[in-house]
Amino acid sequence: MTNPDRAKQYLEVEHNLFQADPKNLLLEQGFTWLVRIFAFSTAGLLLWLSWIIFQDAEPAIAQFGSDFLLSQNWNVGELSFGAAPFIYGTVVSSTLALLIAVPIGLAVAIVTSENFLPVWVRSPLATLVELIAAIPSVIVGLWGIYVMIPVLQPLQLWLYKHLAWIPLFSTEPSGPSMLAAGVILAIVILPTISVISRDVLLAIPLELRNASMSLGATRWETIFKIILPASASGIVGATILALGRALGETMAVTMVIGNSAGINISLLEPAYSITSVLANEFAEALEKLHIGALMYLALILFVITLIVNLIAVLMVNIFTKKIN
């Protein structure tokens, strides 16, 4: 290669290195903006969703106002709508579910995070409980109708026979009931509680446990006095997250709650939840006001779950910050 040739080549390289290719620059900026637009539209989806539901609920909000929340009358023929029975059903069934699922979920989390069992039993056990979350809830509901309710019925009868003096068990059970809905919800939310609580328990620094044990505390004393208090915010976060799931769960509840609108203190009586009435009536709603009332219900559910989930996410964040 001659000298001038080589000089020319150097020049070319230099040129390449120092001059920004306009096409390249365009691609670079265009791509950055494209990614931003997609990301913002994902965030915008939540806003869009809230706006649409609010807008479609507007006719019913204008018509019924806040009386909607307290009225017990739901009559499609007369176009008079009240949300109280549904709100009551949703709140009571979710509370029942938490009462059942929190102790069981915590027990699973403790058993699978402590060293009671060898690792090769412990981690499959945790995965197995996690698996419940993978089963579609409509199938859990199907199982609820044909397996759980027949098993639960003798218990319900026993409660009615022996404890009927307690208002909670004062009516004769017929199968589907608020209690059945609570139990099935507990099954559905169990993985949420146990999986997150397990992660939280595993994140507690080993030093805390060692210090407690070396001072002579037994395992359970350590768990109750050291580990659980240290992980409280995480576990409460998991519980609230589970509450959010329970409030929004539709199929499993609809199939076993009995779908009967009315407020009854007895847990053995069929009830109705917000999600069930949405699932049952939306496809058949024709009147504008009926659709509006259902949208109003959806809006109430959306706002409640939004608040619950916000609190849950913040709680879990606080825990993660504390641990780090």
Binding site: T32, A39, T42, L49, L125, V140, S194, L278, F282
Partner: protein, 298 residues
């Protein structure tokens, strides 16, 4: 004198086994914890057993290729071919809609926004979006698609499922991209790669198994959803008649047949459950295989 007494009490305390109360508490709590764990496993085992017990007898080639038999007729082939097709169709539409947005949002969160306020905001909103109840997504799709087109349709169902899949895809993509070492990005940039090339040829390419895992998990979740489809796709006894007509799906078929007075329909609901759980399981196992491939590469 006093000193030796103290020594003595210390000695007895150290040498004596745990007090009765504390021992009982320990054993009692261990027992309770194990009993409760057993109770947690009971429903899962019962559900799986029951699906197998009720679903297998009816499982044959016939159910995959024939339409649901008219009510009360027992001598014609009974199946859920249309529902199977409907589920695949709607999950397909949902994936087409949600994957571009989800993956791009994941790219933004991991590659462009990182820890900026905007990215944290978008991440937070995505997490919240992920926890929106599925029926609310259905109501949204009803308002957007069904009311405007005056028609229950596969598109409406797919749209509702897309709303549910989007945040899952976005968050899992972000997680997968974060696992790619920064040195690879720097190497690409130092060789003159612009952000488009670095992102797609290097980062996304090496995180592909992780992204696929997240996508498959989202697909598995969408395939089992029922509530949003009830008010968007409705159901149908026939083959789908184009994308803008009521469409059957596995999950809605199970729901509709669950309370049927006809035993053969209940039977079909169990068989459909078996097939649906099988589909969800296969998708999950596939996703685990992808995840394993990723860990081998590492």
């Amino acid at each position: 004198m006093a000193k030796s007494l103290l020594d003595k009490s210390l000695e007895t305390e150290l040498h004596q086994p745990l007090g009765v109360g504390r021992t009982l508490f320990s054993w009692g709590m261990t027992g309770i914890a194990f009993i409760l764990t057993g109770m947690a496993l009971l429903p899962l085992c019962s559900i799986l057993l029951e699906i197998l017990r009720q679903g297998i007898p009816n499982l044959g080639w016939e159910v995959f290729v024939s339409l649901p038999a008219p009510q009360g007729m027992t001598d014609v082939p009974n199946g859920f071919a249309n529902a199977l097709l409907g589920t695949i169709l709607m999950v397909g539409i949902a994936s087409l809609l949600s994957v571009p947005f989800g993956v791009m949002t994941g790219i933004f969160l991991s590659e462009f926004g990182k820890t900026s306020t905007i990215a944290s905001g978008i991440r937070f909103i995505t997490v919240i979006l992920n926890s929106v109840p599925s029926i609310i997504a259905g109501v949204f799709a009803y308002a957007i698609v069904v009311i405007t087109t005056h028609q229950f349709s596969a598109v409406a169902g797919g749209f509702a499922l897309a709303v549910l899949m989007l945040p899952m895809v976005a968050l899992t993509t972000e997680e997968a991209l974060k696992l790619v070492p920064t040195s690879m990005r720097l190497a690409s940039a130092s060789l003159g790669g612009n952000s488009f090339q670095t992102t797609f040829r290097i980062v996304v390419a090496s995180a592909l198994p992780g992204i696929t895992t997240g996508l498959l998990l989202a697909v598995a979740r969408a395939a089992g959803e029922t509530a949003p489809l009830l008010l968007t796709a409705l159901s149908s006894q026939k083959w789908p008649d184009g994308l803008f007509s009521p469409t059957a799906s596995m999950s809605v078929l199970i729901y509709n047949y669950a309370n049927s007075p006809y035993p053969e329909q209940i039977q079909l609901a169990w068989t459909a459950s078996l097939v649906l759980v099988g589909m969800v399981c296969i998708t999950s196992i596939l996703s685990r295989l992808f995840a394993r491939k990723r860990s081998l590469v590492r």
